[in-house]
Amino acid sequence: MAAATVKADKDRKEAPDFALKDAEGKVVHLSDYRGKVVVLDFWATWCGPCKIEIPWFTDMQRRNKDRGFEVLGVSMDDEGWEVVKPFLTQLGVNYRVVMGNDATAQLYGGVEALPTTFLIDRAGKIAAVHIGLTSKRDFEDGVEELLQPAPDAGGRPVVPAIADRSK
């Protein structure tokens, strides 16, 4: 059996909500994403390891957006959208990015190092935290685990479109 890439449900804590603006000036709340699996990525344009991971997230967004999955980037650039917007265009980022601040970073334990990435389940709970450059496989495995349907009350995995003939 492979080692779990995400925490057991009982060990997950609620991801703190926040209200941050995206590139269009619209206010985005993390709670807007309730019901979806979210990769919440704290990054900055001056962070080399972040530049490695961002194309992975772009790929994951493209492949999983119809499965109830979203990537949400939080830029920690002090220079703001002036440097972030061209960067997003250059990398072809296809997911929403908001402008972070110290208050939000503190909600998430300080976020001293970048990249710091949280995997958040559909209930809005933190299932995994990755600090520093991580493998694409680790992210994909964690997201895939969270995207799986929850088992039914009997503990049986729910398989869509297959009738239960035991009853």
Binding site: W46, G48, P49, C50, A113, G132, L133
Partner: protein, 123 residues
């Protein structure tokens, strides 16, 4: 640092980067990287303050396509001043800021600025 009016004087600012970390040099390899930079906010009785940075090293990291121009370990920044012709005798200090941005091989840390003080004595 001691000098007479109109004298050329030199200061050495020691810098130490913890093992396992690097800071971008004053001439980073990429535009998006934040350089090491020493600037002066007040030089008192001193004029100039041109900074000579050491020769950087080119290091290859997993997260970068090409080697990065960085400083590691211990090094000095050399600063050249000239004592002002009208400088009053006695002690004083030049005040500046050293800004930098550090990473290790997997993660990066926010840009920081630390104060720099160069005490001097005008004879």
């Amino acid at each position: 640092m001691t000098g007479k009016r109109n004298a050329a004087v030199q200061a050495r600012i020691p810098v130490a980067v913890d093992a396992g970390f690097h800071v971008n040099s004053n001439t980073p390899s990429e535009d998006y990287l934040i350089p090491l930079k020493l600037t002066w906010t007040a030089t008192g009785a001193l004029e100039g303050g041109q900074v000579t940075y050491p020769k950087p090293t080119l290091e290859k990291y997993e997260f970068a396509d090409k080697p990065l121009s960085v400083f590691t370990g211990k090094f000095d920044l050399v600063v050249n001043f000239k004592v002002a012709p009208t400088a009053a005798a006695g002690p004083g200090a030049a005040a500046g800021k050293l800004s930098y941005q550090a990473c290790n091989d997997r993660m990066c840390f926010p840009p920081k600025t630390v104060p720099v003080t160069v005490p001097y004595q005008i004879q």
